[in-house]
């Protein structure tokens, strides 16, 4: 047996023994997802058990170095673990924006004390993070952000407003972009800073969406004092940190179907509504299933390219765009396939699935806007992959 085979066998054995059967069922509702942080809530004893076992093995963050609480796995081993978890249907033991996005940039740009202070608790699932990037007048043009951070002794004093802050009302800490030099060119006066959401002067207000209540919030800062040691990557050097983080965000949004939202099995639903819908809809369902299959094959090819250390940039550039557009199109299709049945968000007289499809049809409209809109993704492909002129 090769080293990989031995590792695969060990992983499978450990997962079989330690992942409770109820944690191998598909995620169907919000209650099935555990969000890490100081206010962590478990909806079942198995959820807690699975979380703690994975945490104690360092497998909440299996690819991080052991020094920061991670599992210290090599990329090849990480892929084996992911594959084995998929094969058994293991749920993610916790969800946390910090792990997907902040962690990797801290590992790259953080100082040793910063890494120890923030990565270790994150690896134990003790801190829940939110992202303070977008502002009311800085969406796709993120670098035009205006939230100001003014140096005052050992602190920065922050005043301004963020919007589209996912789970801002539940997060312990925020990583944010702030303007530290209003005179500099817009990308050059920005800093990347970490702040405790309990700091006085912060007000968080949830945002209502077309789909109803959402995890998105507005966050207001009124002279909020944040220690200067929490700046990552140097004062006025925040844009390059942010660009890197956005790459991780795009990657995370490329794998939406692996867990961030309840996922409907299109084929199962389609079968029960197709008879009433007719042959045109059968063709559309087949096309949508083919789209999904082409995407997952492309995900597989991307992983194989990366493992073989071949150039994968042309492929990776498309993943966020394709995944979010397909998720949106899938819910569009299901909503219409259900005809008059998926036209209510909350009424009696509809199945839970019909209500959920209606809600997610509206909710997934945000997928192609958040994390760099589809238009921004197309700009990136046109300029950086195809090399078209500006």
């Amino acid at each position: 047996m090769s080293g990989s085979d031995t590792f695969r066998a060990e992983v499978r054995q450990w997962l079989e023994a330690n992942c409770p059967p109820s944690m191998r069922m598909p995620v169907k509702t919000d209650q099935d997802m555990v969000w890490g942080g100081s206010r962590i809530t478990f909806h079942s004893a198995d959820q807690r058990l699975w979380f703690e076992r994975m945490r104690d093995r360092g497998w909440l963050v299996p690819g991080w170095p052991k020094a920061y609480g991670g599992g210290g796995l090599e990329p090849r081993e990480l892929r084996i673990l992911e594959k084995e978890m998929r094969a058994l249907g293991c749920r993610q033991p916790q969800y946390n924006l910090g792990i997907w996005m902040l962690g990797p940039v801290l590992l790259e740009f953080g100082t040793e004390p910063q890494k120890l202070e923030h990565l270790v608790p994150m690896a134990r699932g003790e801190v829940r993070w939110c992202q303070g990037f977008s502002e009311p007048s800085a969406g796709s043009d993120l670098a035009s952000l205006r939230t100001a951070a003014v140096r005052d002794g050992e602190d920065f004093v922050i005043t301004g407003q963020k919007i589209w802050t996912s789970h801002g009302d539940k997060a312990d800490w925020m990583y944010a972009l702030v303007r530290t030099d209003p005179q500099a060119k817009k990308q050059q006066g920005i800093s990347f800073i970490l702040l405790d959401m309990k700091t006085p002067g912060i007000i968080v207000r949830p945002l209502g969406l077309i789909s109803g209540k959402s995890e998105f919030c507005e966050v207001f800062f009124d002279a909020v004092r944040v220690p200067a040691r929490h700046v990552i990557g140097g004062v006025n050097q925040g844009w390059r940190v942010a660009k890197k983080l956005l790459e991780h965000e795009r990657a995370a949004m490329s794998t939406l179907s692996s867990g961030a939202a309840p996922s409907f099995d299109m084929l199962t639903i389609a079968k029960s509504y197709l008879d009433a819908a007719g042959p045109v809809w059968r063709d559309r369902v087949a096309a949508a299933l083919m789209d999904q299959q082409a995407f997952s094959l492309t995900m597989r090819r991307l992983q194989e390219l990366m493992l073989a250390r071949e150039d994968a940039s042309g492929v990776s550039s498309i993943m966020k765009l394709v995944q979010t557009e397909q998720e949106s199109a899938k819910h569009e299709l299901l909503q219409q396939l259900m005809g008059q049945r998926a036209l209510s968000l909350d009424s009696e007289g509809f199945t839970p699935e019909e209500l959920a499809v209606c809600r997610f049809w509206l909710y997934t409209k945000s997928y192609t806007i958040a994390g760099g809109s589809s238009e921004i993704q197309l700009n990136i492909i046109a300029r950086h992959v195809l090399g078209l002129p500006t």
Binding site: L267, M290, R301
Partner: protein, 379 residues
């Protein structure tokens, strides 16, 4: 298993690319067309291709096969798509060789496969009868009579039918149109009395034939495989051809797209390069996205031909549907983005448009394969 090429397959792809770029660029197809070539392919080129071993790529090793699999042969077809090289590779090797290897008797295999591997015999598959592909719709009749077989009926869109040394004819020996059961395969010498072949030249400057079988009498040994039971092997071999056509389409699409992007970078209007216009950038970027998705789908279909798993037919339909649909979109965009020069015969883009349209209809377009895929997935 992997969607990527191994070293041997990569070597084959690179040598195919270099060979075709010098020996059979698009200009060679234009020359065939302009001189109204009778055969529609260049025997000398085919001879050189045989020496390179492509016809042997997927044949069993006992018959001189190379064992590079359909992933290897698919990589060759992709390169063929890039230069539009006119070769008998698909009808002779994938269809003829494939059907003989899967269903032929030992005697048939021993006689024909070495000739196919050496490029010394050309085959054609006489299948289509209606305007749209559907192998269950075959109505050309076959019946046995005093130790002989007789065929009667018409075929069309027989690729390379006018140059083939032998034809494999799909006939209905029982049942009615629309049924899978009742199909049989026959090996037919085009010189047999009652066989009438009429060459039709297609929009892509390649060839297909109409073939009329009038009370054609064949000896008992003409039957390939079991009578009435041909559908399964036919569809499996058609899947290989569909996967190879999807690979060829990928090459056609990629080449036309790369030429278009290059044009967007050089063409100046309103004092700027037109590739700086966001309207064009986004359309080009969308094509890039679709090409990447197609590349994965084609690789998976070819891989499935080598692995012969139970999802093989589904994967082939995904690849052929996407290739057919994208070829329509990508080639229309290529013409449109070239502007006026795009509709001139002097520019080669038109050759890609025409070839793509023929390949789109060969063995099922997007609509056919979505229907088939839905059936395979149980709805």
């Amino acid at each position: 298993m992997t969607l990527l090429l191994n070293d041997e397959q990569r070597l084959l792809r690179d040598s195919a690319r270099d060979f075709l770029a010098t020996r059979s660029p698009v200009a060679a197809l234009r020359a065939l067309r302009d001189r109204g070539d009778e055969r529609g392919y260049d025997p000398q080129l085919w001879h050189e291709i045989a020496e390179l071993g492509w016809p042997a790529a997927v044949l069993p090793e006992a018959y001189g096969g190379l064992g590079v699999g359909y992933k290897g042969l698919g990589a060759v077809f992709e390169q063929i798509g890039r230069t539009l090289a006119a070769t008998p590779l698909l009808p002779t090797v994938v269809l003829g060789g494939g059907l003989l290897a899967e269903a032929g008797s030992t005697a048939l295999r021993d006689f024909w496969l070495p000739k196919i591997a050496a490029g010394e015999a050309l085959f054609a598959l006489a299948l289509e009868e209606a305007p749209r592909h559907d192998p269950t719709q075959v109505t050309l009749r076959a019946w046995s009579e005093a130790g002989h077989w007789r065929l009667d009926g018409d075929k069309q869109f027989v690729l390379d039918g006018h140059i083939a040394d032998r034809m494999i004819v799909v006939a209905r020996s029982s049942g009615t149109a629309g049924q899978q059961a009742g199909l049989s395969l026959f090996l037919v010498d085009p010189a047999t009395p009652g066989v009438q072949i009429e060459r039709t030249s297609l929009v892509d400057s390649r060839n297909a034939a109409r073939v009329r079988f009038s009370q054609v009498q064949l000896d008992g040994g003409a039957l390939i495989g079991a009578p009435d039971q041909a559908f399964a092997v036919l569809d499996a071999v058609l899947d290989r051809a569909r996967a190879c056509i999807a690979a060829e389409l990928l090459g056609v699409i990629t080449e036309a797209f790369e030429r278009t992007v290059a044009y967007l970078k050089e063409r100046v209007q309103f004092d700027v390069r037109i590739g700086s216009f966001q309207a064009l950038q986004h359309r080009a970027a969308r094509l890039h996205v679709e090409i990447e998705l197609l590349r994965s789908s084609v690789a998976a279909a070819l891989e499935a031909m080598d692995a012969a798993g139970n999802e093989a037919a589904e994967l082939v339909s995904v690849a052929k549907a996407r290739a057919s649909d994208l070829s329509e979109k990508a080639l229309n965009e290529a013409v449109q983005m070239h502007g006026g020069v795009g509709v001139t015969d002097a520019l080669e883009i038109g050759f890609f448009l025409k070839r793509a349209r023929v390949l789109q209809q060969t063995f099922g377009d997007g609509s056919y394969h979505r229907d088939r895929y839905a059936r395979l997935r149980g709805f």
